[in-house]
Every structure is written in structure tokens, then in C-alpha cells.
């Protein structure tokens, strides 16, 4: 970041103007109220009904998109954003069969959606357009909650500029870009401030921030992060706040307000539970403990929580990018995580098997010859702690619960040192020469190292050719590697790292899935 920009960031942090535009839009408020009604009428167990869960997901997503972007229902891009009404006719018929009592609310919601479609306007766009027309600077950026609509929103803003005959840049930022963006003279934010990280206003990236949100959305600004109490020395920034009410077409009396957080797409815990396989005890597909990582594009992925596994990540530094293989425990928010999105399984393992060629099957089977008895022993003992005690008593060094999780994981090749490996195979009564097996494991490890290097080189080549600005902006980028190397890999920005541990089949680890509730 340029030194002058840093100086301006400090100036901005010390003197900020926040202008809140409360946008009244009667029809959309009515639609929102109808969506709330239908969610209540359908009940909690509607999530178990395919038709109802799909319809509710559609309505909630529609409400979120229209409250978080200047897009409107008849926008040409809406098909890419939220699907079409016609797609849901069959589901509406199915829904009537299971919950007839909830149908009036559902029909009302769809009737409002039809009206909005016919009106074809966005009050957020109209209100923001007025402000855009009055700006006397071209140092402007826009902020939306969900980066997946960035392209649609940029197009809309460009056409709004054209309509008003103004020449403004239409840079649309995602929340994760706020850390490194700016400084700007003006930032135009769509949606309530509670949707954004506290540093939106606590450590701002623009001198003036316009917040456009519907007046029926309840907002509460998160407190500024600061040191407080004894030892704290805080110079409060100067801040000027003002509100403006903007009335859109067709505005009527205010509907019941909705908490801003209730509008956000949420992680589908039920889906996580479905994927979590605490009951599965298959030998071929062992259960592993994993944490969920929330990725850009409302996707999630399970990655081993304590098995010592590592993943490729892309690090963007200025105009350069580097590829690193880092332990899962070190992957944090903002990291670009590389996952295989075409084909199944771990890409390094797949590539390593190709390197091992004809020996692969023999060596993998040798690997299972000691891993399976180990997994069986852990299950029989009831916990890794207990299994560790038993193995320690059998003179296996370093038999800690963490190490047992690592050794049993399919992601792990074998123990770090030979003495431990020999002791472990003897304790597990594996009927093969441990020396021979150790050499076999060594062969697998060498193949994994070679595979990792090949994939890393290929990724680096692809990255050199790619537009990294796009990766920064979208948070997602797909790389197709040479045939036989790794297929298609996708770099996703990690938006959240789950703290809870789930038990999942090992085959699910590293496989991205949809998270939308």
C-alpha cells in the first residue's frame, strides 16, 4: 500500500461521515412480511420436506438479494442469481399436499413476487442513483454483502450511470476486500451495517460512507474494536452521523420490521448433520474428525481437524502470488484454499498413485494393513485416549490421542520415525515384516512429495497466466491442470473457519458442498 494512502487511511479513521439512507419500499416490505409469515406457517420441520425446503430457500434468497443489492426482480441477470418463478410451479403443487394450512401465506409471498417482477424496479438502485448523481468526486466504491452478485451489480450501476449521464467508476467490493481496499472519498454500502465487519465503520476505508438499507430492516452497528479500561489509551475518532429517509415508488405504511441478521443466508446445520456420519463405521471409508470451512460462494468443505494434514493455498502479496502447502490448522479466514472440484478424492493422492503406477495398488494395500487394525483398535477401546494408553503399555512411543488421529487418517502416510512404526505394527500384530512395510511407506511418501511438487508447479504456471485481480475480487478461481496432473482445481477464499468438530466419512473430506439454508 502506498505511503500516501496509509496517511489518508489514518485521516479517514479520525474523521468519518456516515449518512444512512432509510429506503421505504412498500411492495418489497410486504413481500418480506409474507416471507416471514410463510416461514412461521410452514414450521420448523419444513426443512425436512424437499418441496417446502426448496421453496423457502428460494423466497429467503430472493429477499436477501433484493435487500442487499440494487438489483430488481426483472433484472436480466436474476436467473443467474436466484432462479425463476416458473421453476417452482411443480414444487408449489407438491407443497400444498403436505402443508395446506401454510399455502395462503406461500401464495401471498409469490403474488408479491409477481407484482415486483411486473414493476421491475429497485428502490435501492433509485436511491443510490440519486446520491451518485450528486457526487463531486470519482474516488468511489460500492460494497455489497455477497460477492457472487458483483458482476450483476456492476452492470446495473454502469447502466444507472449511463441513464444519469454521469461518469463514475463502478468498483464493487466484497466485505473481505475491505481490509485492503481504499482509501476512497466515498463508499456506498448496500444493506444494514450489521451485515458487515465492525471495521466498516470502526476502521473505515472512505471519508464518507453512505449506507442504503430498507427502512423495515432493523440494524445495530457493532461496537468499534478498541482497548478499553485500565491500560487503554483511546482517542475517539470524530464522526458525523445523519439519516435521510428516501421514499420509493409504491411506498406504503411500514410493515413489521425484521432483524437484519435474520435476512442473511445461514449455514444449513441440518445439511451438516446429514453429511456428518457419526453412525458410519465402514472399514473402507473411515470416520474422521473434521471442521467445516465456509468458502466463498456459500460453499463449505470439511477438512481434518487434528490429523496433521495439509492443503495447498494461494497467497496473494501485492502483484505476486505464491503457492504453499500449509497444515490445515494454519488455514485462516482470507486464505485462498485450493480444492479439487472435478473428480473425487485428494488430488495429491490421485497424482501420487499415478506416479506409483503398477506398484500403487500393492503399496496402498500395505498401508491399509496397519491402518485398518489401528482404526479397529481405536473403536474397540472407545476413544483415542484409551487406545493410546493401551498402545503405550505395549511400548509404542508417542501414542498420544493426537498422533493416533493422525496415524489412522487416510490423509497421513505413516509415522514420522521408524522406531515408532515398527513398535506400532508389532503392537497391532500386523503379520508382515515391519522393515519391508516401512520401505513401502517411504515409497508412498516419496510419490506424494513428487506429486505435490508437480501440482504446485502446474498451479504456479496457471497463476502466472491468471488475472489475480479477479481472484481477489470474486474470491473464487478455477484452474485446469494438464491431463494426468490434477484435473480441475478451484481456489476458494475462506470466509469462516468453524470451531465445532464433526465426524464425517473420510471420503467427504476436501469435497466442497453447498451451504445455503
Amino acid at each position: 500500500m502506498q505511503f500516501g494512502h496509509v496517511a489518508k487511511l489514518y485521516d479517514v479513521a479520525g474523521d468519518l461521515e456516515v449518512i444512512r439512507h432509510e429506503v421505504a419500499a412498500g411492495l418489497f416490505a410486504d413481500f418480506s412480511q409474507a416471507v416471514t409469515d410463510v416461514v412461521i406457517a410452514a414450521g420448523d420441520d419444513a426443512a425436512d420436506d424437499e418441496a417446502w425446503s426448496t421453496l423457502l430457500r428460494y423466497l429467503k434468497k430472493l429477499r436477501f438479494v433484493l435487500s442487499s443489492t440494487p438489483l430488481w426482480l426483472a433484472h436480466p441477470s436474476r436467473h443467474h442469481c436466484v432462479g425463476t418463478l416458473a421453476e417452482h410451479e411443480r414444487l408449489i403443487r407438491d407443497a400444498e399436499l403436505t402443508r395446506p394450512a401454510a399455502m395462503p401465506a406461500l401464495q401471498r409471498a409469490f403474488a408479491y413476487a409477481d407484482q415486483m417482477h411486473n414493476e421491475g424496479s429497485s428502490e435501492l438502485r433509485a436511491a443510490a442513483g440519486e446520491v451518485m448523481g450528486e457526487l463531486s468526486t470519482s474516488s468511489v466504491a460500492f460494497l455489497i454483502k455477497s460477492p457472487r452478485y458483483r458482476t450483476c451489480v456492476e452492470g446495473t450501476l454502469r447502466s444507472e450511470c449511463g441513464r444519469r449521464k454521469i461518469d463514475l467508476p463502478t468498483t464493487v467490493l466484497a466485505p473481505s476486500q475491505l481490509r485492503t481496499a481504499g482509501p476512497y472519498d466515498v463508499l456506498i454500502v448496500f444493506g444494514p451495517t450489521m451485515w458487515y465487519p465492525p471495521h466498516l465503520l470502526g476502521s473505515p476505508r472512505a471519508q464518507t460512507i453512505h449506507v442504503f438499507a430498507h427502512d423495515w430492516i432493523r440494524d445495530s452497528e457493532p461496537p468499534r474494536l478498541r482497548f478499553s479500561g485500565a491500560g487503554g489509551h483511546d482517542v475517539a475518532p470524530r464522526r458525523r452521523d445523519r439519516s435521510q429517509r428516501r421514499v420509493g415508488a409504491g411506498a406504503r405504511s411500514a410493515a413489521v420490521s425484521v432483524e437484519g441478521s435474520d435476512l442473511l443466508p445461514s449455514i444449513d446445520i441440518r445439511r451438516l448433520r446429514e453429511l456428518s456420519s457419526s453412525g458410519s463405521q465402514s472399514e473402507a471409508d473411515p470416520v474422521v474428525e473434521a471442521r467445516v470451512f465456509v468458502l466463498e460462494g456459500q460453499k463449505g468443505v470439511f477438512l481434518g481437524s487434528d490429523d496433521g494434514s495439509s492443503r495447498f493455498t494461494i497467497e496473494l502479496e501485492g502483484r505476486d502470488a505464491s503457492v504453499r502447502r500449509v497444515p490445515v490448522s494454519q488455514i485462516e479466514e482470507g486464505t485462498f484454499l485450493v480444492l479439487r472440484t472435478e473428480g473425487s478424492g485428494d488430488y495429491v493422492r490421485t497424482m501420487a498413485d499415478r506416479i506409483l503406477a503398477g506398484r500403487g495398488a500393492t503399496l496402498r494395500s500395505a498401508q491399509e494393513r496397519w491402518k485398518q487394525p489401528l482404526r479397529f483398535m481405536i473403536r474397540r477401546c472407545g476413544s483415542k485416549r484409551q487406545a493410546g494408553r493401551v498402545l503405550s503399555a505395549l511400548a509404542v512411543p508417542q501414542a498420544t490421542p493426537g498422533n493416533l488421529a493422525r496415524w489412522a487418517s487416510p490423509e497421513n502416510i505413516c509415522t514420522q520415525d521408524k522406531t515408532t512404526f515398527v513398535a506400532l505394527t508389532r503392537a497391532l500384530e500386523v503379520e508382515y515384516d515391519p522393515e519391508v512395510m516401512w520401505h513401502q511407506m517411504h515409497e508412498i511418501r516419496a510419490a506424494h512429495t513428487a506429486a505435490g511438487a508437480a501440482i504446485k508447479n502446474q498451479l504456479l504456471e496457471r497463476i502466472q497466466e491468471a488475472d489475480l485481480g479477479e481472484l481477489r475480487a470474486d474470491g473464487v478461481m478455477t484452474f485446469t491442470l494438464e491431463a494426468g496432473v490434477g484435473g480441475t482445481l478451484t481456489a476458494f477464499r475462506v470466509n469462516q473457519v468453524g470451531t465445532e468438530t464433526w465426524e464425517v466419512d473420510s471420503s467427504q473430506v476436501g469435497q466442497p458442498f453447498e451451504l445455503d439454508a
Binding site: Q2, A7, Y10, A13, S203, L225, F227, G231, G232, H233
Partner: protein
């Protein structure tokens, strides 16, 4: 082009011009332009915090300063700059002082403890064998070097060669360079002289680390490219904040290391304690407790994902009652929107 060693004292200027009673140097950077402009208030603030931390380290206090900033860009290097410049004023190194310090270090070694012995430009593994008075009554230091086939040669070193013996355990932090070569200055020597107030070779050749930046090298590399100039010369910030990756024998005043590096433990136990700058919330969380007993400054961007955890971590340390809240000197002007935390550890 000059060869670069560490940055040393700026005793060439009138000390009263360079310092205030609270230990904050105020006018050192007057006339120095950063990116073509005088140091802006945020830069002066960060420099002053570094200078104050250097005073605290010199006084052997144990202190932690947390800075929550709009951005962490340039923060670590400006704090390190303040520390290096101020420490030079406070404790100008001289050969005599170095030798006394080295003797003190060696006297605390057990017989047989490993040392490095530097002889005619080469480094040898050796063992400290104590001291012995010769027939002339002069006390010499005994060092046994390892021979290829076992055994070895015991050297009786006079006082003037004491700096050629480096305790192996402390060598990484405060001792001799293996050679006086370093990374060449990118800019003109006059810039260094203007900031440090001393002839450039004297600035660049004395080995001592005054600031350690804990974090990833790539994060600060761009910051060090900042153009700097004085009326007499031009250069870059890297010419003033001479950062070099940690390693034995490097003759640099400031270093960066990883928060996971074992070197961080060495910093906390070194005789001459540098100011430790933990660059970013993640490095604060990894390094704070390991650098305990030092003067540490955590620089954190308020937008960093782990800043909240780092803030809670610091405030809870105070809540536990093991540390005391500290005060910021009056002379340091905190810019609006910046939050500072001071704790005596």
C-alpha cells in the same frame, strides 16, 4: 556504495535536540522526507512509540504496548526505526563496552560449554575452558577448538581477542558478525548520516540488534521500499531500518523472525534485549507469551480477522492480575481512531 552493517548511534547531534525528558525523540527526523513529504502524524506516532520502547528496553523494564491501527502497513518498520535510532542515542556501542559485555557473558559459562571461535575470517566450533594467568601474570581466556581427528588445540586468548569468542547459545542475537560484509546500502550514505548523526561506517559496522520484527518477511518487504531523502542524500526506508532475516553472524540492527521460530525464545533470554515488534494479530497471539520479559510492541490492523482475539488476550492478561496497567508518556500524541494499550509485564 557502502557495505552495510548494523545501524548505530546518532551521537553526532546535540542530545537535547534529539530527545525529550519522556524519552521520545522528537526532532530526529526533521528534514527527512518520506515519499517526498515530511513524516505524517501517524508515522511520527509510530516512530515515537518505538523510541519510547527503546528507552524502556534500555532501562531493563518489561513492558507491552498494543497498538490497534487503521492499517498495519508501515507500522512495524516505523516502530523499529524509532527503536533503532533512539537506542543508538541511549547506548552507543564501543569496542570497550562490547569486550566488557563479552567477558561478563563468558564468565557465566560452565567449563566445556560450546562457543564459536572466530579466527582469520573463519568460524570454528570450540569449547570454553575458563581463564588462566600466564607467567607474565596476564589473565587469558582459554578456548579449545575441535580437531578433525578428535582432541583439539587450546588457545590462550588475550583480552583484545575476547570478541572472537562467541557463546554458542547467545550468538544469534547479540554477537559478532562472521564478516563485516552485509547487504549494500541502496541509497546514499549521507541519508544514514543525516538520520543517525554519525559517519556512515561507524553507523553500519557495530553489531547489535535493537529491534526484532516478528512476522513474515513478505509483509514488510514492500514497506521497506519507501523512498526517503534528506537534504544531503536519498535512499529507502530499508537503508535506515536495516532488517535482515535472523541468523547467526548477521550484522544488522533489526531483524525479522517468524513467530514460530525458536529464535524468539532466544530474544527473551538475550543480555542485550532488543525491542520486539509483533507484526499483526496472528503474530501477537503466537509470540506474546514467548517474548515475555522483553519490551514488546504489537502492531495490529483493526480490520485483521484475529485482532479481536488479540485485544481480548491482552486485556484478559491484565484482568488476571499478573500485570499492571501502564501509562503512555505525555509526549506521544495518539492519532484519532488509534487505540493503545500499555501494560507493565
Amino acid at each position: 556504495m557502502s557495505q552495510a552493517g548494523p545501524i548505530v548511534s546518532a551521537a553526532g547531534k546535540n542530545a537535547s535536540d534529539r530527545t525529550r525528558p519522556n524519552g521520545v525523540s522528537r526532532q530526529v527526523l526533521d528534514g527527512v522526507l518520506f515519499d517526498g513529504k515530511p513524516l505524517p502524524p501517524f508515522g511520527q506516532f509510530l516512530h515515537d512509540v518505538g523510541a519510547w520502547a527503546a528507552v524502556a528496553a534500555h532501562e531493563k523494564r518489561s513492558l507491552h504496548v498494543g497498538l490497534l491501527l487503521p492499517t498495519d502497513a508501515y507500522a512495524a518498520v516505523l516502530v523499529a526505526l524509532g527503536a533503532a535510532v533512539r537506542r543508538s542515542d541511549l547506548a552507543p556501542l564501543s569496542g570497550g563496552e562490547d569486550a566488557a559485555r563479552r567477558l561478563d557473558q563468558l564468565s557465566r559459562l560452565e567449563i566445556g560449554e560450546p562457543v564459536w571461535f572466530l579466527d582469520r575470517g573463519r568460524k570454528y566450533k570450540a569449547f570454553y575452558e575458563g581463564t588462566a594467568a600466564g607467567s607474565d601474570g596476564v589473565v587469558r581466556t582459554l578456548v579449545r577448538t575441535e580437531g578433525h581427528g578428535g582432541g583439539g588445540l587450546t588457545r590462550h586468548l588475550p583480552a583484545e581477542r575476547i570478541l572472537d569468542v562467541v557463546p554458542a547459545s547467545e550468538a544469534a542475537w547479540e554477537d559478532l558478525p562472521l564478516s563485516q560484509k552485509g547487504v549494500a546500502l541502496r541509497g546514499s550514505p549521507e541519508l544514514v548520516e543525516a538520520v543517525f548523526g554519525r559517519e556512515v561506517n561507524a553507523v553500519l559496522t557495530v553489531p547489535r540488534v535493537d529491534a526484532v520484527v516478528v512476522g513474515r518477511k513478505a509483509v514488510v518487504v514492500e514497506d521497506l521500499d519507501l523512498p526517503c531523502s534528506s537534504a544531503s542524500g536519498e535512499g529507502h526506508l530499508c537503508d535506515l531500518v536495516r532488517l535482515k532475516e535472523a541468523g547467526f553472524g548477521s550484522s544488522y540492527r533489526s531483524r525479522w523472525i517468524s513467530a514460530r521460530s525458536t529464535n524468539l525464545d532466544e530474544v527473551a533470554s538475550a543480555t542485550h534485549r532488543p525491542v520486539v515488534v509483533l507484526n499483526g494479530a496472528t503474530n501477537h497471539l503466537d509470540g506474546f507469551y514467548r517474548a515475555h520479559g522483553c519490551v514488546t510492541v504489537s502492531v495490529m490492523g483493526a480490520a485483521e480477522p484475529q485482532s479481536m482475539e488479540a485485544v481480548e488476550d491482552l486485556q484478559s492478561a491484565l484482568f488476571m492480575g499478573t500485570h499492571r496497567p501502564g501509562e503512555l508518556p505525555d509526549g506521544i500524541r495518539v492519532p484519532p481512531g488509534v487505540s493503545v494499550f500499555v501494560m507493565e509485564t
